[in-house]
Symmetry: D2
Subunit: 338 residues, 4 copies
């Protein structure tokens, strides 16, 4: 920890900072500059919260040198983690594609999609049973019945199932059916929920909040890891910016940054990341090119009849085209589709 003092800080102010560092078990070292004093605190970097020092009299700014997360960091574990989700590995050389409808709508519909995906190169089936919706008047998902249909589709096709869990008390119920528990973007900082999925041993697909920095995203992962569940897959799905021509701004920089900071696999959701069907394929290609460890996309046999997100769902022909094009990109970079 580096404490930068105001130019007009008094010797007493400096003394108070040193004392606070010592209380936390850090060894203070004072560097006297021409304009101001800078104090280093040597020792365990997580011993003291920078905010608690910033508030001391005469302190201008505190610079934290170390990363605030530990278990999620590359320093803690240099080798990439491979998360196996129902037999599908995320984080290895092969790139799995998770696909399916935004919401589970009906048995026939879901089986049609799952059967198609099985043949067309999908590695896992996504589908919402519990749906977070901005308006209380929008379709909220089939709930328990949706979970049952997902399990049925898995039984028929063998595809592992990824579905969202929205509240701590749902975790047990959803975990009984799903292979991967999805935490949606709006819940990335729902800490009781993170802890609840952290207490399971199910793989967790942690979507980046549309308002979250990469550091906050990794701290959210840390919440899960700290509970003892090491099976976390990160998913970039677009952030909120001033731009309105797409629903979100897919942040592929964040994929490269996250891959350099953490050993966890990082996948990309170009459906939410763009919000428009016509941009999903080019951004899926870009996601694989930047180094993503997987994709998750929305697919619907008749997007214009979907109960939610039809606008950004691919139809079957488009999904086939996506598979073909991202496979070409993957191979060009020495990887392949799972």
């Amino acid at each position: 920890m580096i404490v930068i003092m105001h130019p007009h800080a008094t010797p007493d102010d400096v003394e108070q900072v040193k004392e606070r560092l010592r209380q936390a078990g850090l060894r203070p070292y004072v560097a006297q500059g021409d304009e101001r004093v800078v104090i280093h605190g040597h020792g365990n970097p997580r011993a003291l919260d920078g905010q608690q020092v910033e508030t001391l009299r005469g302190v201008e700014r505190v610079v934290t040198v170390s990363r605030p997360y530990k278990l999620a960091s590359r320093e803690f574990r240099p080798e990439p983690t491979v998360v196996a989700a129902g037999g599908v590995p995320f984080g290895g050389d092969a790139i799995p594609i998770i696909a399916g409808p935004c919401s589970v709508e009906s048995e026939a519909g879901l089986l049609e999609i799952a059967g198609f995906l099985r043949r067309a190169g999908g590695a896992a089936l996504r589908g919402g049973a519990f749906k977070p919706r901005t308006s209380p008047y929008s379709f909220q998902g089939l709930g328990q019945e949706g979970l049952r249909l997902l399990a049925l589709a898995r039984q028929v096709t063998g595809l592992p199932v990824v579905t969202e869990v929205m509240a701590p008390e749902q975790v047990e119920q959803v975990a009984a059916y799903a292979d991967v528990l999805q935490i949606g973007a709006r819940n990335m900082q729902n800490f009781p929920l993170l802890q609840a999925v952290g207490r399971t041993r199910k793989p967790v697909l942690l979507k980046r909040g549309f308002m979250a920095t990469v550091e906050e995203w990794l701290l959210a992962a840390e919440y899960i890891l700290a509970e003892g569940n090491p099976h976390v897959i990160l998913c970039e799905r677009g952030i909120r910016t001033f731009e309105t021509s797409t629903r979100n701004t897919l942040d592929l920089n964040a994929v490269a940054v996250a891959k350099s900071l953490t050993h966890l696999p990082v996948i990309v959701d170009p459906s939410h990341g763009t919000g428009h069907r016509e941009y999903v394929i080019p951004l899926a290609r870009a996601a694989v090119a930047v180094g993503a460890d997987g994709l998750i996309v929305e697919v619907h046999p008749r997007p214009d009849q979907a109960l939610s997100d039809g606008n950004q769902s691919l139809d079957f022909a488009q999904f086939q085209q996506l598979v073909e094009e991202v496979e070409a990109v993957a191979r060009a970079l020495g990887r392949r589709l799972f």
Copy 2:
């Protein structure tokens, strides 16, 4: 609903849109322009989700004319709602100030603050028992013990208590102690939580998410209202922008906008809205000047020893100055402090 077709949409495309509108009980009317066709759907504005039409072939854009919320709107209820929280009215002429520490830390400390606030013009006591923290390694609050201390402070001082609830299964526990249930910014779109507090009849302080539009904020309120709980107080607490010189960007525009769109009271949190003690008082004055119905501020007897948010907490002398200055502004505009 207004459906704008692509310049190259076919008559079949137009027919399909009309059919979909009719299915939802809307009466389609086609306006043939020079460049393109525009279709109106007359009837119940919430009968059909715009997204479901936007996905149809040949559709360029759907414009929704009506507001997506109803119970929260001024059209539904033109007169301002006054929410009584433990005897303190929010939304009338008088402006209450909620104040207290970020976290409840100890019995002695809390009683010291509450006693001071009682004398210095505070209308209600805030204090976190359950704390959402970005890092799993930060202080997470005293939990149940914190609730007990808040109730004790109320008993001693008579100040009603505002405290945060973080998960649906905590609602009953927190509601047993608190006068107002606070929903934090990170939970503004935690829909199961909104529904859970909506099923109580306790007043709810709904903080705006730091990446939420005013419309999303009012839709979050609608979730609570739709469950039957009409006692919602909105709270602007700053949004996330590119600017880094303050912790958040306090959006006082949003107060004026919200006051024009909804009958619910709107208060302001200049502590989180700025993140720096020295800016809290000027922004509190501005909040009252723009028309806020209340304030919520962090106060700590010794901010440099606070376990969280010390950086943005006022000390006692500063709180007294705040009360004096916002009172002067309130009186200049024909209002007063509660």
Copy 3:
């Protein structure tokens, strides 16, 4: 300058950083931590650009301790600067209101507005002769004829004139007519233009860019000051965020921040800051309450016939109401209108 090395930086890397600091005339001091080395460079804080050190091998991050601007800083000049603009002081106790149409449209119209403002409490007249417009097909202003009309309005009413200059080669022409040269938000980082107005001795109204940090804004002021022109008035006019219910997000935090960092006067433009007539008055009140040294607002006798920005222009009755209300707020805080 503080240079934070990677945990795996070599002694050679450290040596190279020390050498670079010495080359720039700084005295390096090495602090050996448990996890990594931190190097201080003592001496003139502007001797070396942090970027040039960050690029050295083994460097993780460079923290610049001092502010990058000097002439604009409170450290350089602790007392507030009062800028006299055609006899109107900005930065003292009295708060001047600049008002007028977005664009100068006609002689009769301009004289009608100026005459009204003179009587109603306006301190200076604003009006665009050269207009920056997003589309090449929008009305671009009357140019030279607009300047002539502004000068005429000043002659008739005595109100000093504020008008925008868009290019270095226009500076001489505009300065021949205007009392204050306005730099628009889109030109805040048009450095040749800043240098050109810096070479005059006319007061400059420097609008904050809608995507500029406070630091960048003060650096833009520094460009003008560094050319020898000390007469700079800063103007907050709203920043671009994700929120769409207002045209911009008026950042009143930035007024408090800027007032603490610089001695220059800071005024506020609630017309552009909100983009909607109905929100201009509440935000003008808030601006004065936060501590602004002036206001600039758009006024038009018949906003619905304005050639530009009618949407955010006040009519005459509204302007009178604004004057009354902000005067009340100013007096409550011990200030007054000019």
Copy 4:
């Protein structure tokens, strides 16, 4: 144009809107809904600015159906435009890479870089002679001498030269040396400058402002096209968001969007788009994968000695790796490097 009236608008309000539409040569058509009236204006979509109608009494919102730009649109010109820059085609199947130092620093250095690029697969040479810098105390470029050195490097290597022009009065001078005139991100809405380069017939590289929407970017291109210069190359270089782990957020969505809206070529700058050398190559791969028509990257033989932007400059070995990897991606998608 579609005018949505308030629910409480009067018949007189409706009449006034109709009259205004008629004045502008539009034919009004009134659609009476259940809750409110909607008025269509049929005819030339650019006859009337929506803002001028939004200001009329009783109007809630105006929806503009057509795009505000014309010459830049796909509707105007369905086929892709190929811009030839000193013999290098942008917008065809082949993908050119522009590379070079941030600033021109010396004759020997520039010739070393240019010679290397010639051999390593660079298609054009970039280098700043006039540099826009946030601080007046940063290196501002060599100016005229820099232009001379660029011309010399072209003479020696045959690579066409791309360099920035910052003010209208510099256009002639820069155009005498450069093959492509670059408009920097901060100048994207410097309208006099856009008009000045529009009056030349030199190709223009128009960087997207870091605060500009795609629509504003295309309107900036329209300024150049409207002056008669059809040779515009668009360049995405990252936008400003809340994320701080990269210098900007490279918006590859915008490349896909722009390619669908305009016939102009779109290239990508991963150096400014990330701000960190280590992320340049993955984002360059992604840019080509999304469909970019070219790249522009910063290269320096010894980035740690660069006078500006060393942090984001590739060294020679890294540039060679970039060429190899993007070539593989291009070929996978049926394209190739120029």
